[in-house]
Amino acid sequence: MRNYLDFEQPIAELEGKIEELRHLSDDGEVNIADEVSRLQTKADKLLRQTYTKLSPWQKVQVARHPNRPHFCDYVEALIDDYMPLAGDRAFADDKAIQGGLGRFRGRPVVVMGHEKGADTTSRVKHNFGMARPEGYRKAIRLMELAERFKLPVLTFVDTSGAYPGVGAEERGQAEAIARSIETCLKLNTPIVSTVIGEGGSGGAIAIAAADSVLMLEHAVYSVISPEGCAAILWGTADQASAVAEALKITAQDLTQLGCVDAIIPEPVGGAHRDIDATMKAAGDAIEAALSKLTGLDAAALIKARRAKYVAIGREGLNG
């Protein structure tokens, strides 16, 4: 059963009718096949029209879609010989950030990312992709492992943000995120980050200070959720749609602002409508990004990574 978003209701109705007609078949009276194909054409056209002009707020909903592929889907599709690794060696294993060793298109890599979970049980297990300090410390540990064995690091970003909890604060959430950013920036091997769903603030940048930052066409990446920002600046979350627009959170906006290096196209109707096509596009984009970074020595890599971040926001200023 497909989940439809609010703005997809007209499409849902058409596709519902098509479904009904298919079950009605074999009456022999009306030409059902013709009617189905007519409606299908209409539904496809509507879907395409809707998805070519998604508003930022609609993209937020697509990015949070319950059927959207998550970290585990990317690992399943893109990583061979995956060996999941666990624990921060200090306190716990945070299941909001998953990671391990594996081969990406033949090449050994360290892979990690936020995992939101796909049903109630797994969402609770993964704490809805909201990591605690242990998650970032596991990320640090894995990056250090990558350094030792000269492995590129692939990260997949999909979190509404770092977990706001008493224990997380007590164990140094801020410090863990800061160290994780620092570790990304110091890493002596290539790091490619892909924002696959939600890039939520500090919890996202913690594993996304990368040589190359890729973003799915309908993913979002923001310093604060539109609802959170609306609540602070307007005193009500009602303005989330307007705020989503103002905050410039889409892949297209972020490319313009120099914060994202490439956009990964999604199938019509969003990544969840054709997971195989999404995985192929993501794999190709990651491979292209990685190949550009291959062969650079560690010092050049780190220098270029830092220069890239230092340059962000400076375009057009005194040359």
């Binding site: 977990y163 706001p164 160290r179 913690a206 990446y221 310093v223 971040y309 230092v310």
Partner: protein, 345 residues
């Protein structure tokens, strides 16, 4: 500190009748509720003499207290793009910026200054909370980068003094990008073998705490300062339980291993000088990098090249620095460069 004026004056008026009460003559301690005469507040560097509560202190006053003889030089910070997102909520961001600039007399939420603490050259990057809650946008990132390169050039330690609620939402993703940018800034100081010390003041939260503020060689905090990542309200809503006593205070963080020392304002000069001495005596043996390299770094950033650092304890250093430019508007009265407030001196 307009909230003090607005809030306290009616009460004083109630006490003394409608007689003229000049602005800011009395302050009410937000912790113990006792009244503090402005001269006492000044003499105690904005620490309540009744209960020891550390009130926020205007930046100019903090600098006057920290630097030898209140002498320091502010550096001009690189220009940044104004309002990159063309953001407006209830107000235009450009208007908010203008208001903050008029209110605080600083260009943005960060001020970078260099001078000496007990004869030791230091670079300080300090936040002005009065400027949009000390929020971190492009200008703050540039400030931290400029401070770091200045420290490297002068072979001086960098001291960061955050007072910030976190990211500048009005700059969207560009404010988030200041987390890696400020991290790069402090990495450069560390890689030059120089101490990077953070003096956390109230508040040090959000994206500021989750980047350069938590990456110090040494973490010092002011008593009672609120320090943490997530806001209290967000946590309460998420966990639906009351927060432990003293949650996210400097003392709580000390207890949980996140900071090294909680140091009262009156002792901070002493502590910083001691730490710098202990850390730098090892560094001094290291050969300095070629001068040209430092100049290149300055040219990259387009920051004005400061005068050469003078040798330790050289009293002539004052000759080419100018005294603290202005008494902060919030200190209530125009005082000279020397406040004479430092009890430790």
């Amino acid at each position: 500190m307009n909230w003090l004026t607005n809030w306290v004056r009616p009460k004083i008026k109630a006490l003394v009748g409608e007689a003229d009460v000049p602005d800011n003559l009395w302050h009410k301690c937000p912790s113990c509720g006792q009244m503090i005469f402005h001269r006492d507040l000044d003499a105690h560097i904005n620490v309540c003499q009744h209960c020891g509560h550390h009130l926020r202190i205007p930046l100019a006053k903090r600098f006057e207290h920290l630097f030898d003889d209140g002498v320091y030089t502010k550096i001009e910070l690189p220009r940044v793009k104004i309002d990159p997102l063309k953001f407006r909520d209830k107000k235009r961001y450009t208007d908010r910026l203008k208001e903050a600039q008029a209110k605080t007399d600083t260009g943005d939420a960060i001020v970078v200054a260099h001078g000496k603490i007990k004869g030791k050259p230091v670079v300080i990057a300090a936040f002005n909370f009065q400027f949009m809650g000390g929020s971190m946008g492009m200008a703050v990132g540039e400030g931290m980068l400029a401070a770091s390169r200045l420290a490297v050039m002068q072979k001086a330690p960098l001291i960061a003094i955050p007072s910030s609620g976190g990211a500048r939402m009005q700059e969207g993703i560009l404010s988030l990008m200041q987390m890696p940018r400020t991290t790069i800034a402090v990495e450069e100081v560390k890689e030059a073998g120089l101490p990077y010390i953070v003096l956390m003041t109230d508040p040090t939260t959000g994206g500021v705490s989750a980047s350069f503020a938590m990456l110090g060689d040494i973490h010092i905090a002011e008593p009672g300062a609120q320090i943490g990542f997530a806001g209290r309200r967000v946590i309460e809503q998420t966990v639906r339980e009351t927060l432990p006593e003293g949650f996210q205070t400097a003392e709580y963080l000390l207890e949980h291993g996140m900071i090294d020392l909680v140091v009262p304002r009156s002792e901070q000069r002493e502590t910083l000088a001691n730490l710098i001495g202990l850390l730098m005596d090892g560094v001094k043996a290291i050969a300095p990098p070629p001068a040209q390299k430092a100049k290149d770094a300055a040219a990259d950033l387009d920051i004005p090249t400061p005068e050469k650092p003078s040798t330790d304890g050289d009293k002539d250093a004052k000759a080419d620095t100018k005294p603290a430019a202005k008494s902060d508007e919030n200190s209530g009265e125009k005082s000279g460069a020397k406040s004479g407030a430092a009890p430790t001196e």
